[in-house]
Symmetry: C2
Subunit: 216 residues, 2 copies
């Protein structure tokens, strides 16, 4: 496998980066104008540097300019709460995975790579339609049909939970302090938004994250 990873710098994709480190030739991070992009990108850069993997940051300015989402600068406030709450829908960026996968497939064809890896997981399914297995399957068919080298989309964590991903990473000795989750864009993880709540549950028992709020 010669792979390209869609790499946010978060917990899930950092685990995937380490698990497939021998296969990954390029890691792509997208700067789409989210409140927490700067924090994510710094983590992504550092982890790629340590592993000696080529890292490319792709700006997608049109998302911040034209799309509506609380996740974006200038958008609504990020709500506190669990990931599966109705109010977390404000964090949806329309078809974000579709856009990232399409750009990644174009890069893969350009650099003669056969696989695009993406770290969506089962906890994403409730809120994000472009994280569900039926979406990934359909997009895989489109990328395969639409590229000369028949690029495949591979999503190894699609049916496991974030907790299972973190336990897998722990076995690999991943330092999760070099990953970023919080959607609010502060200096430290807020500890209360949906992704912080998810992160705490995933890392329970081995969490070195500094949270602004430690409610429990």
């Amino acid at each position: 496998m010669k792979a390209l990873l869609i790499y946010s710098g978060g917990l899930d994709s950092t685990t995937l980066l380490n698990e497939y480190r021998e296969d990954i030739k390029i890691a792509l991070t997208f700067d789409y104008g989210s409140k927490h992009n700067a924090k994510e990108i710094a983590c992504a850069e550092e982890n790629c540097r340590i592993l000696g993997i080529r890292h490319i940051v792709v700006p997608l300015d049109f998302i911040g300019r034209y799309f509506r989402s609380g996740l974006l600068k200038g958008g609504e406030e990020i709500p506190d709460g669990r990931y599966d709450d109705e109010n977390m829908k404000v964090t949806v960026v329309p078809f974000r995975n579709g856009i990232m996968l399409a750009v990644a497939a174009g890069f893969a064809e350009s650099y003669d790579l056969d696989t695009v890896l993406i770290a969506n997981h089962s906890g994403d399914h409730a809120i994000y339609p472009d994280c569900r297995p039926e979406f990934i399957e359909a997009f895989d068919a489109a990328a395969h049909a639409g590229t000369y080298n028949g690029v495949r989309i591979v999503s190894p964590y699609c049916n496991i939970s974030k907790r299972e991903i973190a336990l897998r990473g722990r076995k690999m000795g991943i330092d999760y302090s070099r990953t970023w989750s919080c959607y609010k864009g502060g200096d430290v993880h807020c500890g209360r938004c949906g992704t912080c709540t998810e992160r705490k549950e995933a890392l329970e028992g081995f969490d070195d994250t500094v949270y602004e709020h430690c409610d429990d």
Copy 2:
């Protein structure tokens, strides 16, 4: 139907713009660093202005910077010849339609539009894998599964030829002098590259285009 059109400013998508003018709420043009983008964009802007349709130009700088294609500034020279010749493969931009469709689907969801229109046609199939019916079908399934409002991809010209498109447009009274085809990026159509050859054949009998070379 509340539709968004992927609109290059060329012959095919200008016909689609006119045919679906009542349904199209937004026309999206992509500036991806091709040699002929400036000419295309000027035509697209003018036609949208005349019809009173909102026009948005989306820059995709990463394509010009990272992708390999003769179509792009700094890429190989555009060959003369027919569209179905092996040497026209140099004009392929990897997964271009996949990327444009994904961005368009995100825009459609953001602006509550249910349909993305694209003007690929049967003459594109030989060289461009992301113009073939099986690609469009798979991408439609992906966009439908991956968006909250179930965006559909509609490709009305997928199985007709450029000549048939032009004849349809002629009946509608379209002024094709306000469209751009040539890949070479000169001041007038070169008359010899693959798209110019195709354009001449499509418009035969009612072609007002000024060509630099009129070989036949």
